[in-house]
Subunit: 348 residues, 2 copies
């Protein structure tokens, strides 16, 4: 009988409409390729050479204040700029360009250079959630900003150039492709069912149980049925809210606690500071209601077998479809069975 | 005035329907992040530890013949398997899986462990092209194979676990997402214009000139207007053919020569063995004619500024849209101005 734990198959991602190829039998393939350098694990609480530490001077000459909690500023080398020359190119429908404007922001999660989310107290993570709400509201209120992308790149292997705990926001005029696709899929589902796609999906997952990583009062973390990256997860509120500012105070506390719990499990998996890109998806800020949108947070971590062997999305994956070797069920089991205290916590 | 050389903008990819974000002003951003190890450049002509060298024994106990040219065999750890248990899963339209079958093949380009395509004589590259034709025809003729993906991962940074010059083929029942999208876009264009999308695109590019990297009698190599990777290129036949077996003998010679020329320029750019994933896109082998399809070869190289600094497609790119810093025009200029002999060629 067909069994997704053993037979090659494709899985459907209802959030984007894409498929991924799953090759469970391939997990035993020997690896003779590139080894990653594990993240450096010991850093000083303050690094005089870090351009994100409190009081230090950045490349453009500006000095960071002696901030005690979070600190947000405009990216000195933003990929988007607020004022722009409007216009475009269209030659035969084949050479097409359009001017784009926007704003890039940097959020320091903590003044402490040596911490990361899983090592921060829940109250301090809650302060990060509050900054996300604030930035989403302030940037989203601008008439020239229709989408606010909040994300974090963690670890050198994820292109992060500074280990000081921080995230980014790229806010812009146009809704990018990935959230646009998720918007279309969610709207179609909502139109057909009267409930959000992720409400129904979460109910199915809670019933099945095998892909759940953690649960608290208001949030659930799971490895989605269609996970592409080996240890990809989805963190979502039980209640259908379209964007982060709709969360109640109690839900924001739960969100912070779930963030801490999920990232602790990630760090414990290979006993390293676990690299990933993570980011919120929520409704565009174009002034429309978007009742179908259901807020969620994606985690895309690159590691596959150990602290030094990653999954490469190359060749077939770039030209055909994304592919994975271990099953989402296997990954969920691994993450679920991790201890809930951080491996660096000193024994009592 | 709006100028794509200076102002942030989005470009449209007519082959897929996607957009990418271009941030030309960001090229000057300092880089303090991960440095790649440049590819090892000196290898023996024969390596007793290499499982692809002639005469050596592979992990599964099989011995490679003492092959003098190319050598093709079934991947010992294929992501796809030919016999499979049919079936699927569909729970509420949200947990969906389908059995998938197929075949993975490995193609050694040369018996010489120390060579790569740019260092091989054109006649030997032509032999590789002939293997591609043969495999496309043989695999494509099977009733259970509707798509044949031919590709090469080159370099440890692209997940290639063995530097012996080789490529792969993943042939399968279903048409993967990326060629499916290209098929839809090409069919729509063909229906509207009566010519292939890439015929008209190539004519525009030849007129504009600034993104052309190389030309010969039958093939053109260029940096597409919508290039995502810093030095991404597209190699395509001047004549509209749907798949590789439709090329004439003269066109196949031109293809081999263009492959050599393009990869020589890549190696010369940073004076290293240049890493990339490359792959052919052509019509599905489902028995239909697909008159809109226009054969082409994509090169997706990861390097950005030097042999050790790559572009990371992370964070915003995973959650929003792909993004690039240098313009396609800048990259084309760099590649076009490279010498046409390989940097390792001894001075006469
Ligand atoms: O088949 P290989 O060379 O062992 O593996 C490489 O190419 C495959 C196809 O692109 C990828 O799935 C792997 O992640 C990559 O490491
Ligand atoms: O902005 P950073 O941290 O310098 O840069 C990193 O994140 C960006 C947004 O995901 C990417 O475009 C860069 O490739 C990556 O290196």
């Amino acid at each position: 009988m067909f069994d997704t734990a053993h037979h090659p198959h494709r899985r459907y991602n209802p959030l984007t409409g894409d498929w991924i190829l799953v090759s469970p039998h391939r997990a035993l393939r020997p690896w003779q390729g590139q080894q990653e350098a594990p993240e450096m694990d010991t850093r000083p609480a303050y690094d005089p050479a870090c351009y994100l530490c409190p009081g230090n001077v950045r490349a453009n000459g500006q000095q960071n204040p002696p901030y005690p909690g979070t600190y947000v500023f405009d990216n000195d080398f933003g990929a988007l700029q607020p004022q722009g020359q409007g216009g475009g190119v269209n030659i035969g429908g084949l050479l097409r360009a359009e001017a784009e404007t926007g704003l890039c922001r940097v959020i320091c999660f903590s003044p402490r250079h040596d911490l990361t989310l899983p090592e921060m107290p829940v109250a301090d993570i809650r302060a990060v959630v509050d900054v996300w709400v604030q930035e989403y509201l302030t940037l989203g209120a601008r008439p020239d900003i229709n989408h606010v992308q909040i994300f974090e790149n963690k670890g050198a292997v994820m292109g992060c150039s500074n280990p000081h705990p921080h995230g980014q926001i790229w806010a812009q005029q146009t809704v990018p492709g990935e959230p646009a696709r998720e918007g279309v899929q969610q709207a179609a589902y909502f139109a057909g069912h009267g409930r959000s796609l992720l409400t129904d999906y979460l109910a199915l997952e809670l019933k099945e149980g095998q892909r759940i990583v953690l649960e608290n009062e208001h949030f659930v973390g799971l490895v989605p049925y269609w996970a592409t990256w080996p240890f990809e997860t989805l963190l979502l509120p039980r209640r259908h809210v379209a964007s982060i500012e709709q969360l109640t105070a109690a839900e924001k506390d739960s969100f912070a606690a779930a963030l801490q719990q999920l990232t602790i499990r990630y760090d414990n998996l290979f006993q390293i500071s676990f690299p990933y890109s993570a980011g919120l998806h929520q409704r565009p800020t174009d002034g429309q209601e978007h009742p179908a949108w259901h807020l969620h947070l994606h985690f895309y971590p690159p590691l596959l077998r150990s602290a030094t062997v990653r999954k490469f999305m190359v060749g077939y994956e770039m030209l055909g479809d994304p592919q994975r070797d271990i099953t989402p069920e296997f990954s969920a089991e691994k993450l679920r069975s991790q201890p809930t205290t951080h491996y660096k916590t000193p024994a009592p």
